[in-house]
Amino acid sequence: MNTLIAITGLGVLCLLFEILNFRKAIVPITIIGLLAVLGITFSEFNAPGSHYNNMIVVSKFSSAFSALFIVLTIFLVALAHDFYEDHKTKISDFIAIKIFMLAGAVAMVSFGNLAMFFLGIEVLSISLYILAASNRLNVKSNEAGMKYFLMGSFASGIILFGICLIYGAMGSFDVIEISENSLSAELPIWFPIGMILMTIGMLFKVAAVPFHFWAPDVYEGSPTLTTTTMSTLVKVVAIATLYKLIAELNLIPSLENQDLLGTFKTIVVIITIASMTVGNIMALKQNNVKRMLAFSGISHAGFMLMTLLSISNSAGNLLYYATAYSLAGIAAFTVILYVCKNRDNEDIANFNGLSKNNPLMAAVLTAALLSMAGIPIFAGFFAKLVLFNQTIQAGYLVVVIAAVINSIISVGYYFKLILAMYNKEPNEEAAKTQFVFYAVAIVAVLLNIILGLFPSAVLDLLG
């Protein structure tokens, strides 16, 4: 609970710095503030409880994911200073919006009441609409913002309708009451319909096939730092929330009571396999790196949705996969930010000969892509290993076979980028690198490798 209040306070403070003319110091101060909030989150980890009439529930799940979100936001804020160099007067707005977005994200994983869940998801989405369209003189950014806004508010409407039907069936928004009532045998048909609508809305936010069509366009058109936010922070938030919703509202047992469990499992299997396959196959033919990583994100969403198949014991797994994926994403996008800083497109040709111009950045991008592809010593490999293992134990061999085939396909497009960096000649001289790019990229990759060496540090957190 203190995490959420502290984050909101920090956001307000960022806006105040604008008035006090502290613009130069805003990034370091915000990072220090976020580190303090991280400390608060760790201190709450072993003190679960519910607050404000069960509006906010602090559990191990919520604190662990909140800590991950805060770490990701620290990286994003650190990159912001350089990215918004041309908009120095607006930097406090951009950072404040990012911090408020983080508040929405934390509210989404620590909700104890569907009202809190809805407010969280809206705070997160509205901040993102602004960030996606924030380069207002660029037509592509406008278009990305508009598309994201239309799809986002459409999805919010569906989620709201789902919440409404659940309220109609249960007479309460409280998660505990709903989960108790959902076990009773006689439920109005509204309850499963409401859950389905809510799941569909969340799948829109996750960008899982068949609700993925907005993602590549929005990722490509948004400013690169916003794309980083979407593909790391927001994707992880949406999946964690979907997982929590299905787990906490006792959806699985209540569907079992109504003989709908088999259908639900089949749908999840189809969505995971379709997300992985469509994402990877479409990524193969992309020439724009941001678009490629958008499709790669869709396939990773498919991998993460596999945790829904063994929902009773896969929370630690999901946290580990999400951490591995998002840290690799941060590292990869940092290099993209560096390479495409003064260019108007993000084609793979821009990466030609990066290993000669800047070997360190090339190595970081290679490491990040290898982690996403699932090559050993990086966390991505162990995340997939544990995930596949658990899914086989739950009895879904077909999904795991499809996932392994997809991992092999994904190597194809990740190596396209790596080969461009190492085998082609550079087009132009190297640009000067800011220290912060190195710092963020290297810290993210190191964290990823450390997690790969000590997977149990995260896997066993949620028991």
Binding site: A115, F118, L119, E122, S125, I126, Y129, I130, A133, R136, L137, V139, K140, N142, E143, A144, G145, M146, K147, F149, L150, S153, F154, S156, G157, L160, F161, I163, C164, L165, Y167, G168, G171, S172, F173, W190, P216, D217, E220, G221, Q286, N287, N288, R291
Partner: protein
């Protein structure tokens, strides 16, 4: 109030809301004018608000009506951001036709 609800029946409220919601959905999917798309989104949200109030009376419970305030506030914020994006599109392209947004493809 509850008396009226009993006479009309909660099902009819649900049908009405579903119809309004579907009108909104089809508006979003088929209309090309951005303002009308925004209006359709508002219809979707307001259809849900109507159902919230109906359920609130049905359960004799005030929570549903409180939720309507949240969802109205959120809808207002959402549309404010949406209109701001629309203004910047109009300045750049001189049109608010959603069909003209085709720079991003691949």
């Amino acid at each position: 109030m509850n008396n009226i609800l009993n006479q009309i029946g909660i099902e009819n409220y649900i049908f009405l809301s579903v119809i309004l919601f579907c009108i909104g959905v089809f508006g979003v999917l088929y209309r090309r004018n951005a303002i009308i798309v925004f209006m359709s989104i508002e219809i979707m949200l307001n259809a849900v608000n109507l159902l919230f109030v109906a359920f609130s009376t049905y359960h004799q419970d005030a929570q549903g009506q409180i939720f309507v305030f949240f969802s109205m506030a959120v809808a207002a914020a959402e549309v404010a951001v949406g209109l701001a994006i629309l203004v910047s599109i109009f300045r750049n392209l001189g049109t608010i036709d959603v069909g003209n947004l085709k720079n991003l493809k691949g």
